[in-house]
Subunit: 360 residues, 4 copies
């Protein structure tokens, strides 16, 4: 099968690099265009990018010439890791011009007609694209977002509990450095230290989780009504966000039942069979001192959320810890999974899979 | 004034070292006896102790010969940093033999007739010593404990709010490495990592805080009735425990009022005038990203608790972060402050201050 | 092809775990026996081992019952990660009993008839096994060692320069925590700190490098005559030893020539075709700030040594930095590569490869 | 005695903050003017400075209004922690206008008529000021530099060995994060990592050390002739640069003699009696694993250099490790000590000490 051409916006930044790393050898997608700042434009990617991940950029991408932000693009599928200010207009322009834009940026996430997707949790929100296209007068383009990287493990671990009714949620995160991008947190601020505040994230925890766990009906997302109290802290860990979660449910399942709900959770078809989907999106660790960022973030190539320490909370009923790799499952990897879903559902024009989807 | 002789039990361990460091140049107390394991006994302290704090042990203590655990002691005042198993019997024996034992060990903390003290919070619990002596048939000896190092900042920051009625408390700690002693946490377990579990501490958070905030009346401690939910995590920080606290009050003071309660808090006389007492035991930091362990743990020579980020909690009403130096205010420093209180209250026989106290 | 049964001595320790991790899915070898301390013996491996690597132990090994140190073994091939004291006698006993023992332990490394092997560097030292067997009266057994983990990158990077004549070598290492085993370095000793001393390693740098780079002739190793000055320091890095190397050569090749020597280096046949051998054992990084432990230790699945910063040394002529993954290429991975070489060379009785080798 | 007014250039940066912290309560100097970037100018210092040191800025300085770079200054004594580009012209202008400028910046260090001073090492280089004033036509102003923070411990530990004749010097540094300023090294570059390169420092090690150890005669510095090979690396440590030093001497003193030279070293009068001078500028640590950055950097309030591990180097004869607090003794603290020397020597006009000096 021919691969779909892909463009990466903000390709030289930390999340842009993760897109490129994860797309290396992808069975459906091929990076053909890399877009950077005016400072990078015109250079080879290998030269323009100060590679902050392990090893070096893949050879085929290293040879690409970096395009400028406003250069026209050929690729039907676009991944965006732009800085916020650059993203606001450009993402919409590209979607209007017919590109399917899967964005990791926060600016458009809470727009009512932009699906905020984590496929195992809310694959049906993809239906919002038709509303979006109709409302905005777009033909083949679309704008689809994935969530904040700290919201992600919360939503993933709560989805199987949704059936018990979620009333209140108390969250305290311990977030990795890569969540702040590059150069991000100065080492002098975080070595032998923690910072009890992460700008913007507490609010996102409260708003994005309600939208993602909401129901798509009558052409709109009906947000989940629940009370959320979030505290976000930064810790000296390279990758892997851990969230300490207390939750109040309407029903009172026992802990064994909840653990069974987690480990048997798969998400709706066709999500489990997508190339980037792990066989099980959740694992429960029995050891009393897990999950731990360094030891568990790579589970399922960084796409599995690890849960541990489920026990009684004297205040809200249940408490546990959840961990996800923030730049894989919580950012670029999720965006790619979203794109895979859009591909098999026929939303990406010019994709060979679109024809397969159409034929169904 | 002549100084009171002091013995340190468990002197070669991490907390024992902190006792020795903090007692260097103390105006009332002088370390005369150091007690270590059988392996250390007979050696000079400077040779026996693998000093893990900065710099080196004070010269006068370095020259002392380490005594064995069961050697008889001459000092009227004893600080204990023994391992748990060694502490159980030996602390009681020494108190029975007439020594005033200020212990940092957990084993005897919850005994009904052992005061669990943080002087600014519950100096009046000292009255329990008379009960203890009467019940156990002790004459001049006594056994007084200070709390777990993570409970300490919680209790200190809640004391000024006690008047509003405390109903429920949700705690998530981020604890420093020195809280686990030495050698303690292996570096391979914590570099680029956090551990979402600290053995034993969650239970202590719930029980010790109720006792410390309780009222001493009719010869007993009437524990505070409140519901506590605690999660304890370990982070790669050398010193300084930070606790993320959500609290539900019966009344509804505004945040300015609470901050004023904190910054004006002094504790009852004669505590503020004791040598190790800071001028104000609490400080409130206005910066949104404080308190931070590395930048705030040394406040007031490690004896001040720093609070920040007071704001509304959608679930319990109020939330904030509190930080204390865990081996100073949360351990050895608190034990010394307890001893200073006992000294001026006349509980330490042979102390020159006892005579002054008696004369009052 | 049927796999050769393998036993791992010291299987529950940090290096033992790395053996088990690296042998998972190995094409020739299958872990059938795990040997631990008396405390672990009789338990399932999954229960006995406090797994310190990422993720969890492989399922098939987790189910094995741990054997005691002196239990008889069935496997023809034995990997040893024993503590030093346990290793001295047991390794020799097992070799005497007909097992091929590939050891990562230091005790027998410098014995004149024990090959100290890094296959790309000195595959011909395997010939020493005949001497060993003859001298000790062993029939099918053998004892083969790999080097200290800090010596390894030095020897690997110097091998291609051997032809220019190596006179003097000045080494300053910056070593990772895993080199000290588990629990190893206490976190309180190394967070926000370095330790300018690693017990025993400076001496090994000087002796083992001379033996490894020596020539096997007339049934003995003729050590390389060179003067070595080594300083070993410990840094807060999980894995990956970096060594700052200054070297004096008899000849004066230019830097381009040396870099070409490195990148074209392969080692003698059949080494490059062994399953664990990387396609090129050395890579040269052009970036001025590389190699770095976190970014380069995983090169070639941890089997490639990364070199960088080759430049003039005003004192010795040349200087550069070399980095290897200390528990993969510098320990368990090297031991496995040694075993692969022994297998194809016909030294492992009962191995299907032995028959192939014999037939040649 | 009235205090001399002091201005701090680059006051909001990391080194500028250290100047302000160290000058708090200084017996001779009082910070009256703080100079920042155009972005900071006009604001109160407490508001303009993102304080990166522990605790908070001193109250009296926090209230000062930040001046712009080109605002005229009143203070006779100026400390400079400017960025390099800003420093080049402005430092010279201020000296020309009659201010005594003690700079921590590198740009003017190697100018032939600028003394590069470490008072215990080369107090007599102060004589170069007369040459400077004469040559440049300045009346009361002067420009005096202190060295690079990594050069400093090298020069301090070598000074007592100068009498044995220093021929060759091999240096490998392990440098702290604060040496790179703030924000400086991104945490993602250094957590669980080291960087084997520090831009610019290797060259400074070679040039500055020769000048500092040189002799002032005939109105010029006669640089020490020695061969220096330096490698500079960055490690995850907040403060404290450690250098692994190998040195070749013309004579062959034994190690005891060298240690005695170090511990008895004081520097020439009047240096030992200056307010910021430690009683002994060098300490030798007998423990085999010292000096360590976290445990030894605060020795003598950060003004003492710690040495350890003196032993034979098979190549150069001697090797040892030296450590200094890089932002105290290696930067701001040294600059203040230089100013104290200038004050008592009568070089600062309008300083009460100048009159005392004149009267002598």
């Amino acid at each position: 099968m021919e691969k779909t051409d892909v463009a990466v916006l903000g390709a030289t930044g930390a999340v842009g690099q993760r897109f490129i790393q994860l797309l290396e050898g992808h069975p459906w997608f091929q990076v053909r265009e890399v877009i950077g700042s005016s400072r990078s434009a015109g250079k080879h990617y290998g030269e323009a990018a100060h590679w902050v991940l392990d090893d070096n950029p893949p050879d085929d991408v290293a040879k690409l010439t970096v395009k400028a932000l406003n250069d026209p693009l050929d690729s039907p599928l676009v991944f965006s890791a732009l800085p916020k200010e650059a993203a606001i207009d450009r993402e919409v322009e590209l979607a209007e011009a017919g590109h399917v834009v899967c964005t990791n940026v926060s600016v458009n996430r809470m727009a009512p007609d932009v699906p905020l997707m984590l496929p195992e949790v809310n694959a049906d929100h993809v239906g919002l694209i038709s509303v979006q296209r109709y409302r905005r007068g777009w033909s083949g383009g679309a704008l689809v977002a994935n969530s904040n990287c700290t919201v992600m493990p919360v939503v993933m671990s709560l989805k199987p509990l949704l059936k018990y009714g979620i009333r209140r949620l108390h969250l305290v995160s311990e977030q990795a450095l890569s969540g702040a991008g590059y150069p991000g947190v100065p080492s002098l601020d975080i070595l032998d230290n923690i910072i009890p505040y992460v700008p913007g994230d507490e609010n996102k925890m409260e708003t994005e989780s309600r939208k993602m766990l909401g129901r798509f009906r009558d052409g709109a997302i009906d947000e989940l009504e629940m009370i959320v109290s979030a505290t976000c802290t930064r810790v000296p860990v390279t990758d892997g966000h851990l969230v300490n979660i207390s939750v109040e449910l309407e029903e009172a399942p026992d802990c064994e039942t909840i653990i069974k709900d987690w480990v048997t959770f798969r998400g709706p078809d066709p999500v489990p069979s997508l190339p980037s989907a792990p066989s099980s999106p959740l694992q429960y660790l029995e050891q009393i001192d897990r999950p731990q960022p360094r030891r568990d973030r790579e589970a399922g190539q960084g796409m599995v959320t690890s849960i541990g320490r489920l026990r009684e909370c004297p205040i809200l009923g249940y408490k546990f810890a959840a961990l996800s790799h923030n730049t894989v499952r919580g950012a670029a990897g999720c965006s790619i999974l979203n794109a895979e879903l859009l591909a098999v559902e026929g939303y990406i024009q010019g994709s060979p899979l679109a024809e397969v989807a159409m034929a169904k």
